[in-house]
Symmetry: C2
Subunit: 415 residues, 2 copies
Amino acid sequence: MLTKAVIISIGDEILYGQTLDTNAHWLSGELNKFGIYVKKRHTISDTRKEILCTLREAEEGVEIILITGGLGPTSDDLTKPCLLEYFDTYLERDENVLNHIIKIFTARGRQVTEVNKAQADIPVNGEAIPNVLGTAPGIWIERNEKVFISMPGVPYEMQRMMTDTILPRLSKKYVKRGLIHRMIRTIGIHESNLADMIRDWEAGLPKEIKLAYLPGKGSVRLRLTAKGEDTDHLQKLMQDEINKVLPTIEKFVYGFEDEEIEEAIGRILMERKMSLSIAESCTGGYLSHKITAVPGSSQWYKGGLIPYSNELKNEQLQVSLEMLKKHGAVSEPIVLTLAENIRKAFHTDIGVSVSGIAGPTGGTKEKPVGTVWIGYSEQDKRAAKKFLFTKDRMLNIQYTATAALDMIRINLAKN
Amino acid sequence: MLTKAVIISIGDEILYGQTLDTNAHWLSGELNKFGIYVKKRHTISDTRKEILCTLREAEEGVEIILITGGLGPTSDDLTKPCLLEYFDTYLERDENVLNHIIKIFTARGRQVTEVNKAQADIPVNGEAIPNVLGTAPGIWIERNEKVFISMPGVPYEMQRMMTDTILPRLSKKYVKRGLIHRMIRTIGIHESNLADMIRDWEAGLPKEIKLAYLPGKGSVRLRLTAKGEDTDHLQKLMQDEINKVLPTIEKFVYGFEDEEIEEAIGRILMERKMSLSIAESCTGGYLSHKITAVPGSSQWYKGGLIPYSNELKNEQLQVSLEMLKKHGAVSEPIVLTLAENIRKAFHTDIGVSVSGIAGPTGGTKEKPVGTVWIGYSEQDKRAAKKFLFTKDRMLNIQYTATAALDMIRINLAKN
């Protein structure tokens, strides 16, 4: 039997659209990795009525109820009083938690007030879940073969609590791996073209396997999902199907499972002991940011330049003013020169450049908003490609970064 | 009476934690701006049973039911069949929508199949909502004084549909502004210290006004919310309270409502006709990205350099190797030199620099992971400040960017 969970996010700031609920997203991903199916997610306000109603409704048909938010020390944090009411129980102070709170406050040189101490009060039918990064402990309550877990809304506190305590306990308690996911990650091909290419394979998939297309900004992930009892059999079935489809789409596959395109490129560059530098204009730092978000990227990424103005393109990367005047900054000769000159100036094996019109202004009839040129340079190889993306500034920045990373991937594949 | 809405997000990819549900977040924010209160959000899987059950449950106690997802042309898109079943109705082809679909396919040079044409089929008890950016129209159905709105899950299609058609219609149909928000945006002060500073003011707030602290990465937003009938009165009440508290916290307030710190800085630099350049090491492009995400930032942001390696710090920004050896790259003299030299090299009024240990590796006993130095340089002014953030790479990058922007704000305030 598949273990099912429900997630309840409590917080007016979420319903007001002021805070993006990344907690429910993160929890969904982690539970799925452990083979736990998230049946539904609720986002509710910090009121007694909503919390109690939702608890009642949510626990139907699931084994695990996860709650985030409303655990702070202030009076508008209602989760704990609601749990008391829901389970008809009362609080008892947990000495371990109390000592932890006192320790944290002392380290910060602050007085422990009665309000702070009250955070150590735990419903007697439950137990405290340690919060190593904060003062509000989680709460673990079991009733009728179901587990109710209440956690703080601060993302890193919640995540640490899940990783250290909750997920290990849940995976011990429930059968693992009734739900299996595999992910094939593609780039540089549109969802509908990909669907055309693999139509026959998709039609022939065994009934245990469900396929989904997850389009991103310039990339598409193919998700295979299998539910069932015999997980070894399912794993083999999935791998067989992946092996079958790969030759058809190989050109567009850059990796599997969790690997992002920037991680895949880092992996290849590390293997080949090659280094990279970037001159990015219209992406304004986003491309370098994606790359440097990868831990250890300093081993293969040497640095970048953001020549946002034409003056800097000329002074910092020796693009001649005549050339800029003749072709415009968004053109093939300019990105080729930028890529070559950043490679030479920064002493790297590869130089990549990006120049485009992100919008909302700056477009012309010949070069409308969304026009982007990307350049690539190695000592004995050069390439440039033109793209036309959208009318939206942020989308253009994101699409361009993905396309530049894909350009690196494609040219590395030619070596 | 307050107009209430509920949001239903349909999609297995959300429940699997593979796609972050930004739609529900965006919708919440927009509805709130129009004074519509989002009572609850549901995230459910693409199954007939879940969709029908949730519709039934969701429409209780609200006037507006918004649904995203499950409107595509493929067989796993179940929203339309479920709406037919829920309202016991049938489909009729909408000629306007059909023409729009044919136009889009023709422009892309693709054949219109029967599956594509079927996207023009709309429940007879409802009407089509134009989708200028895609082929799946939205659906607007009214029953018992309630509006049911079904939209595609593609964010930019949904957003355009809301902005062009749905929000104007909703605001005409329902009383506007039963719910008012004001936001005071602070930076460079911890939530608990801020709370201490304004304790008396908070205690004296009129009962119509609710206060909430919304902490971000290095910033805290203070949200004032008022619900009631007489919105003019509430507006005045709110403004009075804001005027009362401002003198106490002025030093930390950079703006109001939707304004981000990078927009606030851009506003000031434009007013003063000043320009900015950045040398960022540990943030790896993120700081420049935040700045260049602001439309029109090219008017005051000239460019940046990401000297990720020490070699580049030396060659590109003339930081001497002796200095690097003596003090280490993460130090006061280095960030002061970087800030001054980027300002000079890029011919800007202000130069800012960032150097730190983002982690997970690279920390030492003297300079643990999370240690960051930020430098600031104007022709007749210079400053540097040390920070100690977290053990987490992404958090450190985000906190550093915020702190650097705050450093610019503080130094501009001194002029």
